[in-house]
Subunit: 121 residues, 2 copies
């Protein structure tokens, strides 16, 4: 494996809310995604989900509060906790989560990207 | 849990090669460390180790090549692969690894920090 430049990887795609996989470590996948607007309320029954914002602003709406993340800020959404990501235009962020994680949990929408639709770049 | 600002967390310690824990996700620990100079050759038999550089320059010396990481660049050292971290002064980086990971593998030195010596901040 070579080193991974986040900037280089983000330059390879434009689609919003469509994670790309850049690395695997201990059975977890490191994913990069761009977001704009709101995704959908969902939870992951068995997986914690780590978010680290690289550019822009990503708000993780929880049922009882909102976590607003700017570049260099991270948050772990614990397994089972409902959340709805909301991003300013052209927000870039990293996620680290087990390969078993469903993109939008059981909340399937047109925006849902199954793991097979999350290419390695 | 609240959100985690990497900059705020890095402001809380100065010791070199002494990881601090800032989060747990799926049994893996997110650690922040500062480095300067060379640590020691070691490997982790059962754990991959993810490095992401935030500031400065971290070179991961491998037996057959060197991976030089600057801010925004990452690398996963696969389990069992010998490596020796070498950092420019005041380099800041993140590591993500299972809680079982020994700091310097079986290469214990004065610089080794056991998990009990890696405080949560």
């Amino acid at each position: 494996m070579d080193k991974i430049s986040l900037e280089d990887k983000f330059s390879l795609f434009e689609e919003q809310w469509s994670p790309r996989i850049v690395a695997e470590s201990n059975g977890q996948l490191v994913k990069l995604a761009k977001g704009s607007g709101e995704l959908v309320w969902h939870s992951h029954e068995n997986e914690d989900e780590l978010f680290l914002v690289i550019k822009g602003k990503l708000t993780l709406k929880l049922r009882d509060r909102e976590i607003a993340l700017e570049p260099g800020e991270m948050f772990v959404v614990p397994k089972g906790v409902e959340h709805c990501p909301l991003a300013e235009p052209d927000t870039h962020f990293m996620m680290i989560e087990p390969a078993s994680t469903q993109h939008t949990g059981t909340s399937k929408t047109d925006a849902t990207r199954e793991l097979e639709e999350q290419p390695w770049i």
